[in-house]
Each structure stands twice: as structure tokens, then as C-alpha cells.
């Protein structure tokens, strides 16, 4: 077999996984950003100490246990209790639930960075507390959080490689199975690296465009 056709075969095999990698990244990004934003809102604005404690506990637990352990609990642990998730569902859920804790902190930092006067001025003109949050505080907090959310998204893309451990058929999963059958270790993993770059660079670019559009306040 020619070197070129070997490479074509490898690339085809890996591309099959690339779709899953992208899908898992986007789905878990959506889940983690929605969950994190919700948690941040409650943590920042609800007055119940009980809810605060619950959210803090959630974030601590998520942050202090390895991602792989979470995935194994969701995939193998739940299965032994009779709840069988597909590997892709478990991957999205696992990365999304962990990501919720990460993005919760990012959003909270965004809200915390706003001067007290922003909310006071909103209340003073007669906006309700909810309107103050939705129209005055959230848009500003989002802008502040956007760059770190971008970094998180790229990190998440890279982290999807660990879900091959629960047999989710993404890039690394295909790479490993091809290595065991063809022994083209260097070529395969180099192609993997290029593939990740090919996904993360446009992702970075998209985030930069978002930042340019919303991140900096126009001058």
C-alpha cells in the first residue's frame, strides 16, 4: 500500500470521529453554559443561604473529582444501577455537568466585576430587580465573561479526548483502535494533532469575532 493511501485511510477513519468530537463539544458547551449561567444567577441574586450552600457544594464536588471519574460514574456506575446511557450521552452529560461548575465561576466573576452603582441606577429609574438583571447586569457580565468562556470552550474541545475512555467514538477513540491494528503510531497521532488544530483554530476565530462584536464596548 502506498504511503498516500495509508494516510487517506487514516484520515478517513479519524474524520469519522471528528464529527462526534465536534458534536460532543458543542452539546456539552451548550449544557455547561446554560447550567453555569443559571447557577451563577441564583448564586449571585437569590437570597436563600440554603441555595447558596447547595450551589457551592455542587461546584466544589465537580471541581475536585477527576473528569474521568465522573464519566465512569455516569457510564458504568449508572449502568450497574440499571440506567444505561449511551457513551455519547454520558460524555455530553459528564462534560456538561462539570462545565456548569466552571462556567458558573466565570459568570459570577462577570457579575462581581460590575460596580454597585449599575444596579442602583437601574432600580432608581424604576426597573424591577429582574429587569435590572436581564437588561443592565447580564449583558455587561456576559461581555466580561466572554474571553474566559472562549478559553473554556477550547479547553472543552481538548477534554473531549478523554471520553474515548468510555468508548465514545470520537477522534481519539478511532486513533487508538487504528494504532492497535496498523502500528502507524506516529502518523496517526500526528494526524490527530492536526485535526484538533483544524477544529480549534476556527473555534478560536469564532470566539474572537464574538469578542470583537460584543466583548469590548465599542469606542
Amino acid at each position: 500500500m502506498s504511503a498516500l493511501s495509508t494516510f487517506t485511510l487514516i484520515l478517513e477513519g479519524l474524520l469519522a470521529g471528528a464529527g462526534i468530537t465536534i458534536a460532543v463539544t458543542l452539546a456539552s458547551l451548550l449544557l455547561s453554559v446554560s447550567l453555569g449561567f443559571l447557577l451563577a444567577l441564583v448564586r449571585q441574586f437569590a437570597k436563600s443561604p440554603m441555595l447558596h450552600a447547595l450551589i457551592d457544594a455542587y461546584c466544589e464536588v465537580m471541581r475536585n473529582i477527576p473528569a474521568l471519574t465522573h464519566l465512569f460514574i455516569l457510564y458504568f456506575g449508572l449502568a450497574s444501577l440499571g440506567l444505561r446511557l449511551s457513551s455519547i450521552t454520558a460524555a455530553i452529560l459528564g462534560l456538561g455537568l462539570i462545565g456548569g461548575a466552571v462556567t458558573c465561576d466565570l459568570f459570577r466573576a462577570g457579575f462581581a466585576a460590575l460596580p454597585k452603582g449599575q444596579r442602583e441606577a437601574a432600580l432608581a429609574v424604576g426597573l424591577t430587580p429582574l429587569q435590572a438583571i436581564s437588561d443592565i447586569l447580564t449583558p455587561q457580565a456576559m461581555r466580561i465573561a466572554l474571553p474566559s468562556l472562549g478559553n473554556y470552550a477550547v479547553q472543552l474541545l481538548k477534554d473531549t479526548s478523554i471520553v474515548s475512555a468510555i468508548a465514545a467514538p470520537e477522534i481519539m477513540f478511532y486513533a487508538r483502535s487504528m494504532v492497535t491494528s496498523s502500528f502507524q503510531t506516529t502518523l496517526i497521532y500526528t494526524t490527530v494533532a492536526v485535526l484538533y488544530l483544524a477544529i480549534s483554530l476556527p473555534l478560536m476565530q469564532a470566539i474572537r469575532m464574538l469578542e470583537a462584536r460584543y466583548g469590548r464596548v465599542k469606542t
Binding site: 452603582g117 441606577a121 432600580l123 432608581a124 429609574v125 426597573l127 437588561d135 464596548v217 465599542k218
Partner: protein
């Protein structure tokens, strides 16, 4: 004539520290009140208790006879307070414009969200208010592009757009570079001439003397002396007022 605003027995404590120790005063419709006093005397706290940005510990605030912040003997929450706050325009020392919104949106948003005006009418109202503060030419700018004096004038327009019964100013010029103070005072003077009811916390004694009808001198959480503006400023009776005015003049 019934007072527009009536404050009785207003007290505010932070923990064990009593910052306001029983404030009483009335404001007639159209009256201009200057609130002066040394730093830490409780001027800002007093002003912020009027629209309940600070919750008074005791006492009563009534606007047009309506009790502010209390309904059926129960304290109101921020959502319930919103319509009452909308009746009072407040201008802050640090402007507190919203940087993610344009100048016009800063002025229009309350009209849309609080009074439910359609976007077009809210915008027209905003432009009208911006004209009053001579800021029409920067209607589409971001607040971040403006000088401090311009920002404060936009903040005044934002408060005017509420169509408030009463305007509250908390040291509106003390964060400004000296050369920008005048443009803000001029706008406030124009509002005063329109017959608006205003309470102004200020260190601009000459402005208070010329614009205010009445001056309240606050010290240690109490109104130590009050009287017609010229009289109190030119011939204060209380030794503490005399000392304060002497110090601020030199």
C-alpha cells in the same frame, strides 16, 4: 399647600452605628432644597433613604401623601418599590450610566420598560430630554466616549425621562474636573428655573445660595440648622454651621 415630600423621624443605623438620628423636613412643590454638611454627616444616606435605595431603620417618607416603602404596615421589596422609585429621579456622584447602552438608550430604557412606551416614542422622549441637557449631538455615542460633565448631563436626562415628581442629586459635580463643573450646574440651574422640585446634596455653596430656596445643614446625622438659602449661608446662627461654612470657603 400640602408638601410634595414629607420626611418624619427618619433614622438609619448600620449595625450599632446610628447614621441618621431622626430627620424631619417637608418639601413644597417646586421647592429647591440644598443639603449641605461635612463628610460623613449622612447626606447621601438621607437622600438614598428617600427612594429606599437604603432602607430606613425608622421613620416615614411620603411623596404626595403616599407612604414610600411601606404598604399595609409591611415593608415593600425592590419589585414593589419600582413604581414608587420611578417617581423620583436620582443623579449620582459617579453618574452610573450603563456602558453597554448608547446615550439615547440610557435615557430611553426606563420609558420603555417602566412606562411601556413603544420604542419609537421612547426614543423621541429621550432625544427631547437630551436636548434639555444640550447633549443631542452625542445621542448615538457610547457613554464611555463622553467627558465626565457630558456623562453627568446624560444621567440628568435619564432621570428627567422618568417624568419624576422630584429630582434627587447626590453631589453631582464633585467627581468632575473643575472645568467641567460649570456645564452641569448650568443645566441644573435651567431645571430649577422650570420650577422643578429638587433636593441637592452639594459642596457648591455659591450654587446652593443662588439656586436653593432653603438649605438644610446636616451634621452627625441631625439637621443642625435650616433656613432660607441666602440667610443661612450668609449669616448662619449655629456655631457648627459657621465653622463648616468658614472651612469650606477658604
Amino acid at each position: 399647600m400640602n408638601p410634595l415630600l414629607s420626611v418624619t423621624g427618619l433614622t438609619k443605623s448600620y449595625g450599632a452605628v446610628e447614621v441618621l438620628k431622626g430627620i424631619d423636613f417637608d418639601v413644597a412643590p417646586g421647592e429647591k432644597i440644598a443639603l449641605i454638611g461635612p463628610s460623613g454627616s449622612g447626606k447621601s444616606t438621607c437622600l438614598r433613604c428617600l427612594n429606599f435605595l437604603e432602607k430606613p431603620s425608622a421613620g416615614e417618607v411620603r411623596l404626595d401623601g403616599e407612604r414610600i416603602g411601606v404598604r399595609h404596615d409591611r415593608p415593600m421589596n425592590d419589585r414593589q418599590l419600582a413604581p414608587q422609585r420611578a417617581e423620583m429621579g436620582m443623579v449620582f456622584q459617579l453618574f452610573n450610566l450603563w456602558p453597554h447602552l448608547s446615550v439615547t438608550e440610557n435615557v430611553a430604557i426606563a420609558a420603555r420598560k417602566v412606562r411601556g412606551l413603544p420604542a419609537k416614542e421612547a426614543r423621541e422622549l429621550a432625544l427631547e430630554m437630551l436636548a434639555k441637557v444640550h447633549m443631542t449631538h452625542r445621542a448615538d455615542a457610547s457613554p464611555l466616549e463622553l467627558s465626565g460633565g457630558q456623562q453627568q448631563r446624560v444621567a440628568i436626562a435619564r432621570a428627567l425621562a422618568q417624568k419624576p415628581k422630584l429630582m434627587l442629586f447626590d453631589e453631582p459635580t464633585s467627581a468632575l474636573d473643575p472645568e467641567l463643573v460649570h456645564e452641569v450646574l448650568k443645566v441644573m440651574e435651567e431645571l430649577a428655573l422650570e420650577g422643578r422640585t429638587m433636593i441637592i446634596v452639594t459642596h457648591e455653596i455659591a450654587f446652593a445660595r443662588d439656586i436653593a430656596d432653603r438649605v438644610l445643614f446636616l451634621d452627625g446625622g441631625r439637621i443642625v440648622e435650616e433656613g432660607p438659602a441666602r440667610e443661612l449661608i450668609l449669616t448662619p446662627r449655629e456655631p457648627r454651621t459657621q465653622a463648616f461654612l468658614r472651612q469650606i470657603r477658604h
